[in-house]
């Protein structure tokens, strides 16, 4: 556990360790992955908190995210500015939530935000339609999409307001044990 690295101060590393589900080595490895996306933009010295943001195009070109239809939403949800441009903090946060050790509630919260395309804190019919189209690459017909949306809201909406709130979503996720294993990106 030698302090041979000069990228972060010891306090910074401790803070990262306490706030994410990663160990020191993993944090450093993630830093190098972040830096590999744009070596000329990311300095090797983070001790004075440089304000570096990588644009969404670089994040979206990572091999883990490149073919994921939800990559734009994922980047938007975890980025500070909501546009998908991520700082190192956002990057670490994202992979920490998507890692194996994050608990179900935390993942459900972020999954809800990812599927909420219009950011109104509810998953309404239009959000569902967009989700379905991304899932099936627009292979379903309009009729089928409409029927699926209706059925989903019917099944999952507990307080009958026509849209899924965070509680409805979490209530449904509790009954889906596969969620923990599928909502996981290994880096």
């Amino acid at each position: 556990m030698g302090n041979k690295q000069t990228i972060f101060t010891a306090q910074q590393l401790d803070a990262y360790q306490d706030c994410t589900y990663f160990t020191r080595k993993e944090i450093l490895r993630l830093f190098y992955r972040y830096r590999d996306l744009a070596p000329q933009l990311v300095p090797l010295d983070y001790t004075n908190h440089p304000d570096v943001k990588l644009p969404y195009e670089l994040i979206g070109s990572m091999p883990e995210l490149k073919d994921n239809p939800f990559r734009q939403r994922i980047a938007e949800v975890f980025s500070e500015d909501g546009e998908g441009n991520m700082t190192l903090d956002d990057f670490l946060d994202m992979f920490s939530v998507l890692s194996e050790m994050a608990p179900r509630d935390l993942k459900a919260y972020y999954a809800f935000k990812i599927y909420d395309f219009n950011d109104d804190d509810f998953i309404c019919k239009s959000d569902l339609e967009k989700t379905l189209n991304k899932l099936t690459r627009n292979e379903l017909t309009e009729d089928e999409v409409r029927m699926v949306c209706e059925k989903v809201i019917d099944e999952a909406d507990l307080d009958n307001d026509g849209r899924l709130s965070l509680e409805d979503f979490q209530h449904m996720i509790v009954r889906a044990p596969d969620f923990l294993s599928t909502f996981h990106i290994r880096i």
Partner: protein, 835 residues
């Protein structure tokens, strides 16, 4: 007749946007826009109307509205303007609400949860409060709801020693910081990690907590003890983190697993993860037996026997020959205490007729029979505990208390596997999900597929025929093994009788391989037959098919293992002299080694050639565009079969776990290569966590239980050989323990109580019955608790629906009042107001 409601419109109007029980630092965008648009349209009308409304209400006074709270309140005859039931059942969003209603709607607590930072901070304040209360073991407040709604601060004053009293001026954030500071470090870290805030917010919180801590520490006089405690705790935590880092760097096959998961998804990955788990079980077993059995015996090897064997290549496959007198098998082990002596006494090397112990060593004494007995027992016991623990953990994760109604919703939200990385696999997954959704829709549309009686009968007949074929095939193969093993046994008996006849020793040893080859062939071919039979059947759902195929394969493997155990323990062990064996345990150990090896060779051949050839066949001859699928269930069952053999064999061959480790290691790479080249991900929906639970359960129940029953039976009832092994001369292996007790009693009469207690507990079957009875009672109790929880869940669901109805009612009545007042104010004022 006005039904006056107690809406305190005065307050509501003024603080509509700001009033909420939480600190909102971010206001809704969407609702704000709506309100802005509305206010632009309607201009000043609303303001004027509301003022009038206020005045009216103030004049009319406030009534008691208790009757309005019940959902059964029948207000249809109160208001003629009320449209109909349709309004009640329509979702709230479709209505055209006025701006005031919208303002109120936007500031409802349920619409502010979970997004704004303030709401999250408030929610986590409550959770940390609850955690503190629990940790300080104060009587907890039973009805403290854990919902996401920020709760009302009515739960009493914090009796902290600090100065942060619950005060309206102190913000929620500071209270949260205070709570975090008062938690234990582990809890604090866990809470911090679980908060759905951004990293910068979390590190701010953490920094505030640490700053506050240093502040308080510097202001208080800290005793040296607590300072030391803090130092020790932080050092321990650092050590723990570095240990975790080290463990993580040791993670086996990380890159390979990631590649497989990225290409084939979570289903196929679960097979490889299961393989890794088995590897760790065997590693544990190997370490235990290696340290306590193999190492002491290998270091102090007994006198070499008269026969001098040379190493021929065949030993690797048969396990006999050169290997039979090595530390690998049971026969090599000493039956007395190993003592390390200063001088190498020559008299220790005189071989007597098995009565004189031939291993005399130094002053360090090591009782070999006891060590053997306890090592095997403890190793199996700890394996059992680890298995049961992982089984219960996996079961807890995958168990659903109520029948899931939201199948389609779960399919939409939980079926996308974020792990999949390759473009072709992603496309495949999209296609799969599309197909599954279409199938589910078709099911929903049709409702019950109306099958005629004729069709049902036909299907049952087909199922009956299929099951008959499978059971007949299984019984046939069992009989085949029985008669073949009998034939081999008689052959060996003949061989031992005609010792003078001219024969080839190599051929004799190679003949020993016949039975393993036959068994492995059966294991390989019969599942193919089952697949063929299942092809002609028709199933309701793909999961039914998976379970049925799993149970058929399981039936086959259990019967095969059963007949083999009978052959070894019932035939070979009962009369070892007839086949000329001086040491039947070593022979059985060698048999197990051969079985394990044959199993590995056949699996490897099957992967390398079978899957490869099948792929070529399906591409060229059947002209299918898709590669064959990787049959996860069948491969996992083969792993379980191999592991059962390893567990049965530990007693006879302490080095068998090492063989199993090598086998699993090689199998990993072979299977990985084969999967990458020849296969594709399964098309049917594969419920990973459920299947993983089933596999762990199968590993625990038929597999481990069967193996331990076998081992226990051997130790309890079968006579060990009289001329080899650590238990020679005893009637059963268990007697080693009894002898120790007797010796203890003889040497120390004071410990007779212990000996008598041991005799009572271990030898009295009543104890076992009572223990089993207690277990059954505990299980029954827990199942009753689960039933009760199910009832509670359905009650709570109904309550939520009622609350939803209430909410709709209140909002629509608010809107109706507003509409009424507006129409009233617009029309010229009349004396008779309509309600």
């Amino acid at each position: 007749m006005a039904h006056n409601v107690n809406f305190n419109l005065n307050d509501l109007h003024m603080d509509a946007v700001l009033e909420s029980p939480v600190d909102e630092e971010v206001v809704h965008d969407s609702f704000n826009q709506l309100i802005a648009e509305q206010s632009q349209d309607e201009g000043q009308y609303d303001a004027f109307e509301l003022q009038q409304l206020q005045r009216d209400l103030d004049e009319e006074g406030r009534d008691d509205v208790a009757y309005l709270s019940s959902p059964g309140y029948d207000f249809e005859d109160q208001n003629e303007d009320w449209d109909s039931d349709e309004r009640l059942t329509d979702p709230l969003v479709d209505e055209r609400w006025s701006s005031d209603t919208l303002k109120i709607l936007s500031s409802m607590p349920s619409r502010t949860i979970g997004r704004s930072r303030g709401a999250i901070i408030s929610q986590y304040y409550n959770r940390t409060l609850q955690l503190r209360r629990r940790r300080q073991s104060r009587p907890s407040i039973r009805d403290f709801s854990r919902s996401a709604r920020p709760s009302i601060l009515g739960y009493g004053i914090e009796t902290d020693s600090c100065t942060y009293a619950i005060d309206a001026k102190v913000s929620k954030k500071e209270q949260l910081v205070n709570n975090l500071r008062n938690l234990a470090v582990g809890d604090r870290v866990r809470m911090l990690r679980e908060m759905p805030l951004s990293m910068s917010d979390k590190s701010d919180l953490r920094k505030s907590v640490l700053d506050r801590e240093t502040q308080i520490k510097s202001s208080k006089r800290v005793t040296c003890c607590s300072d030391l405690k803090i130092c020790v705790l932080s050092a321990v935590r650092r050590g723990w983190y570095s240990w975790l880092s080290f463990l993580h760097s040791l993670h086996l096959w990380q890159v390979a697993l990631k590649r497989v998961g990225g290409r084939f998804g979570t289903g196929v990955l679960s097979y490889f993860v299961f393989l890794k788990t088995l590897l760790f079980f065997n590693l544990f077993l190997f370490l235990v037996t290696g340290t306590f059995l193999v190492l002491p015996q290998a270091v102090h090897s007994p006198v070499s026997p008269t026969e001098n064997r040379t190493f021929k290549g065949l030993e690797l496959v048969t396990g006999a020959g050169y290997f039979s007198d090595t530390v690998m098998y049971y026969g090599y082990y000493c039956n007395d205490t190993l003592r390390m002596s200063g001088r190498n006494d020559a008299r220790g090397h005189i071989m007597a007729n098995g009565t004189k112990p031939d291993c005399v060593w130094n002053n360090l004494s090591y009782n070999m029979p006891l060590a053997y007995f306890f090592t095997i027992g403890m190793a199996l016991f700890f394996t059992c505990i680890i298995l049961v623990y992982s089984m219960s953990k996996s079961f807890g994760q995958s168990f659903r208390i109520d029948k899931s109604q939201s199948i389609l919703a779960m399919k939409v939200f939980c079926s996308w596997d974020f792990r999949v990385v390759r473009e072709s696999s992603v496309k495949l997954m999209s296609d799969n999900i599309c197909t599954q959704i279409k199938e589910l829709l078709a099911e929903v549309k049709q409702g019950d597929t109306s099958t005629t009686v004729c069709q049902k009968l036909w299907r049952m007949m087909v199922h009956g025929v299929a099951w008959t074929i499978c059971i007949a095939a299984t019984i046939g193969s069992v009989f085949a093994i029985y008669y073949f093993s009998d034939y081999i046994h008689q052959d060996l008996q003949q061989l031992s009788r005609n010792r003078n006849a001219n024969r080839n020793p190599l051929l004799d040893e190679a003949k020993l391989l016949a039975l393993p080859v036959v068994v492995s062939l059966i294991n390989m071919l019969l599942p193919g037959l089952f697949n063929l039979v299942a092809w002609m059947e028709e199933y309701d759902s793909p999961s039914t098919y998976t379970y049925i195929s799993l149970s058929r394969n399981l039936m086959l493997k259990v019967s095969v293992l059963g007949i083999l155990c009978y052959h070894w323990l019932g035939r070979v062990a009962a009369d070892p002299q007839s086949i000329g064996l001086t040491c039947w345990e070593s022979f059985v150990g060698q048999e197990l080694y051969r079985f394990l090896l044959m199993d590995f060779i056949f699996t490897a051949l099957d992967s390398l050639f079978g899957e490869f050839l099948w792929r070529l066949f399906s591409e060229k001859v059947l002209k299918r565009r898709r590669k064959p699928e990787f049959d996860i269930a069948r491969n996992v069952l083969e792993l379980i079969y191999g592991q059962t053999l390893a567990w049965v064999g530990v007693l006879f061959t302490p080095l068998l776990p090492a063989v199993q480790i090598i086998k699993l290691w090689l199998l990993f790479y072979i299977k990985m290569g084969s999967v990458m080249i020849n296969c594709q991900a399964p098309r049917k929906p594969y419920r990973v966590s459920q299947m993983t639970t089933i596999f762990i359960t199968l590993l625990c129940f038929p597999s481990f239980l069967g193996a331990s029953v076998c081992v226990t039976y051997t130790m309890w009832s079968i006579t060990p050989s009289s001329s080899c092994g650590p238990f020679r001369g005893l009637k059963t292996m268990i007697q080693a323990g009894k002898h120790l007790m007797e010796k203890l009693e003889k040497d120390n009469p004071k410990l007779s109580v212990l000996a008598r207690a041991h005799a009572f507990l271990v030898e009295n079957p009543l104890f076992l019955f009572v223990g089993a009875g207690i277990f059954l009672i505990v299980i029954y109790f827990h199942s009753q608790v689960v039933d009760g929880q199910r009832t509670i869940i359905s009650l709570l669901q109904r309550q939520i629906e009622n609350e939803g109805e209430d909410k709709k009612f209140l909002i629509t009545s608010l809107q109706s009042i507003h509409e009424n007042k507006r129409t009233q104010s617009r029309r010229p004022r009349r004396q008779d107001s309509n309600c």
